[in-house]
């Protein structure tokens, strides 16, 4: 409880203490980085484990009554729109312990963004609506940017543009049924399904030249020499001075280096649990991962033992913990690298790769139902481990 209080303000101040992206590179303790974005799509084999939803969109309201849902919909939709839903092929269906609404694709398409946002906020409370509970995220200013020029046909891009809605600085998308329904063939449907698994990551090169303060840069990326392998690699590539570049990948500790830009396999869960953000962050400095760290209940006790609340300036290796205020528990963790970049695995799914992302985008991912509290922890020095 004490630590909760000490972190309370961080939710609101996080972005103010993170150095702005436009900060002069020469002054940045992390040096001259050149991140380049890549898009990772889940392997087809992994996607095949996930059944695709039907073409017919359905909104599920567990533990509800139809009158209650109708009343809810009337707070957002016009009476005509609610009537339209009632009079559609299936109508508003009352099942045992659940109400289902079957909007048509054309109905969803004509809904305004604001109406959609309000309804989807409600649907996101229920795991029964998997793509509302955890939408597909498009971390880009536009749908076109996210999918590039040739990945999807123009008609699909147009539909996505209509149906995507903003969460923070990202676009979210929940109408997977509607999207798959416009595919023209099984092959195209599989291709669309794969396209929706897109995540982005970064390839980052670090450039040094005659003017670089190598000692300061080494201290940053090796955490004052505590990262032994990073120290060796940094010295190997900078010992002779001059202008050179090397990939940040090689500076990462063993576990993140191994998993960076890859997807978990079924083998990853052979021990009984799959890696998630907690597993990734708490094992960040380990050589042999502790599978227990996938369990959120392990997180706070471990942090209290090995980490301390961090103060700015935040630095490489700091653990960023997301807490749900309503559930009063951690919901995600990632590791700060530099600038606003973090190493993260967003969730336990095998469709979620280990990536380097902008922190605000990671926050968006965990803001579907509520804005998380963000806390920053730093690993204790060896003498206090």
């Amino acid at each position: 409880m004490i630590f909760q209080k000490s972190f309370l303000t961080l939710t609101f101040t996080l972005f103010s203490f993170l150095p702005p992206i436009s900060q002069s590179e020469d002054l940045s303790p992390w040096g001259n980085m050149s991140p380049k974005k890549i898009y990772l799509e889940a392997p087809s084999a992994s996607l095949s484990y996930f059944p695709r939803p039907s073409y017919r969109p359905v909104w599920k309201f567990p533990e509800s009554q139809s009158e209650e849902i109708k009343a809810f919909l009337l707070t957002i939709l016009t009476p005509e729109e609610v009537k339209y839903l009632e009079n559609s092929e299936v109508g508003i269906q009352q099942l045992e312990g659940e109400v289902r609404v079957y909007p048509t694709v054309s109905f969803i398409r004509q809904l305004s963004r604001e109406k959609k946002r309000k309804i989807y906020q409600k649907l996101a409370q229920y795991r029964a609506n998997p793509f509302h509970y955890q939408p597909v995220f498009l971390h880009a200013d536009s749908v076109e940017e996210w999918f590039g020029n040739n990945r999807l046909p123009a008609s699909s891009i147009a539909l996505l543009k209509e149906l995507a809605y903003p969460i923070g600085s990202s676009l979210a998308f929940s109408d997977v049924s509607a999207f798959l329904s416009i595919s023209g063939s099984v092959a195209q449907e599989e291709s669309y399904w794969k396209a929706l698994s897109r995540n982005y990551s970064m390839i980052i090169e670090l450039a040094v030249d005659e003017g670089t303060d190598l000692e300061a840069l080494k201290n940053y990326w090796t955490i004052d020499g505590r990262l032994e392998s990073a120290t060796i690699i940094f010295e190997t590539f900078t010992r002779d001075g001059g202008k050179t570049t090397f990939d940040i990948n090689q500076m990462l500790p063993s576990i993140p280096r191994k998993y960076y830009n890859s997807f978990p396999t079924l083998r990853s869960g052979a021990a009984g649990t799959f890696p998630n953000g907690f597993w990734t962050s708490l094992n960040f400095f380990s050589f042999l991962p502790d599978p227990a760290f996938s369990d959120w209940t392990e997180v706070i006790p471990y942090l209290k033992k090995r980490y301390s609340p961090a103060e700015e300036p935040y630095r490489y290796g700091d653990l960023i913990l997301f807490r749900s205020p309503s559930m009063d528990r951690p919901v995600h963790a990632c590791v700060y690298l530099a600038d606003d970049l973090v190493f993260t695995k967003n969730g336990i799914s095998i469709l979620e790769p280990w990536v380097i992302m902008h922190l605000p985008h990671v926050i968006d991912r965990f803001s579907v139902r509520e804005l998380p509290e963000v806390q920053v922890w730093r690993r204790n020095p060896p003498s206090q481990q």
């Binding site: 392997p43 590039g148 590539f237 890859s262 050589f287």
Partner: protein, 407 residues
């Protein structure tokens, strides 16, 4: 079985050393097979480019140095004050014979075979060579003499010398060092070769005595641990029609899913014109590249060796069963491979008697992924074929065989 393997003898007929430059005369063995001249003492080009089914890969050399914690072969660091002691398992006439064959002068032989320089323990001789003699032994003579020094007791640096990286001091000192130029010169002076041209150093007790501090002695240990590695970058500036070939090569028939994921995505971004090899390697070598074995990757004092490394190339973790294997049985998992060699192929260097001297993995072009030796001060690196082969040219001729993991 062996005759069906793709192999090429590394032939070395004669080796004459002139300073750091080696002259090697070689010819094709029996006029059959494929031969390659390997020159252990030769310095290499720092940058190379290889094109082929893998695309175009550029290799830029860097010199990696063991960290303090990885220096395990530092017995001399603990007892350097004992000074230089040669131990000879034999009598004085036999030792005299060795010195004569090594072309020591009569006066030098006189000094080295009489007290106080020599002490006869009955079971063996101990010789405490004067500085002027120690420093002025010609390289060939030093190599011959030191090959004759051994006792029944603990194996010392004369019996098990420290092997320097191919190219020797002139190569490893291309990269800055904090040890003094005088010490570097001394190491150069005391470097010697045996028959096949591999470069060794044994006189570390003497060199340590010339260092100014324990700190410098440690730096010397790190300096002689240096070996070449590098960065390799794959060009992604390729025509659309060649992309599937590139993906096919690096994904190794589905065994390297990492490559498939990262290459497909990187090829989408026109800003990414090249990709560091460390992104493309399977998860295990990706994790190990340019690192040293630590207590976590070792089993007690058993450290990962070349077999555990090479045979685990496509695996998730190093196989602990292979860590101490002297000659693993690969017959169930691998088949002899022929050209064109493929990503991840197992490369085995064999002695003339068929004993495995080393294994590593083929990457592309002339680049191999290797851990040269099981000592923790030997890192996992990428090196050129010439460098790896030169390190294991322990006989006049050794052979190299390629194997491929079965589907």
């Amino acid at each position: 079985m062996r005759s069906s393997l793709q192999k090429f003898p590394l032939i070395l007929l004669s080796l004459i050393l002139f300073g750091e430059i080696d002259l090697v005369l070689a010819q094709n063995a029996n006029g059959s097979g494929e031969s390659r001249v390997v020159v252990p003492g030769q310095n290499r080009d720092a940058t190379k480019t290889f094109s082929g089914p893998w695309g175009t890969i550029s290799f830029r050399e860097a010199i990696i140095e063991a960290p303090e914690w990885a220096i395990s072969d530092g017995r001399w660091l603990a007892n350097w004050q004992e000074g230089t002691v040669w131990r000879f398992q034999g009598n004085i006439p036999q030792f005299r014979q060795v010195l004569e064959t090594a072309r020591f002068s009569l006066s030098e032989i006189g000094v080295l075979t009489n007290p106080p320089t020599l002490r006869n323990f009955g079971t063996h001789l101990e010789i405490y060579p004067p500085e002027n003699i120690l420093l002025n032994i010609p390289r060939q003579s030093r190599g011959y003499l030191y090959s004759k020094l051994k006792t029944k007791g603990e194996r010392d640096l004369y019996e098990v010398p420290i092997q320097l990286a191919p190219g020797g001091v002139s190569r490893i000192s291309n990269s800055k060092t904090s040890i003094s130029p005088d010490i570097v010169d001394l190491i150069t002076q005391l470097t010697y070769t045996r028959r096949t041209g591999i470069l060794y150093i044994s006189d570390l007790h003497y060199i340590a005595g010339k260092a100014k501090s324990d700190e410098e002695r440690l730096r010397i240990a790190q300096f002689i641990s240096r070996e070449p590695t590098g960065t390799a970058t794959l060009s992604l500036d390729i025509p659309q029609e060649e992309r599937s070939n590139l993906l096919s090569y690096w994904s190794a028939r589905g065994k390297n899913t990492t490559a498939e994921t990262i290459l497909s995505s990187s090829l989408e971004n026109p800003e990414i014109t090249s990709l560091d090899l460390s992104h493309i390697l399977p998860s295990l070598p990706k994790r190990l590249l340019n690192t040293y074995a630590n207590q976590h990757s070792s089993i007690g004092i058993r450290h990962p060796n070349c077999y555990a490394t090479a045979l685990s190339f496509f695996e998730d973790e190093l196989s602990p069963q292979l860590v101490e294997t002297l000659q693993p049985d690969i017959s169930n998992r691998y088949s002899p491979a022929s050209r064109p060699w493929q990503f991840g192929d197992l490369v085995v260097i064999l002695s003339s008697s068929g004993q495995w001297l080393h294994t590593c993995n083929y990457i592309a072009g002339e680049i191999l992924f290797t851990k040269n030796g099981k000592n923790p001060e030997r890192p996992w690196v990428i090196q050129t074929m010439d460098d790896v082969f030169a390190s294991y040219l322990r006989e006049d001729s050794v052979t190299v065989a390629f194997f491929r993991l079965r589907e």
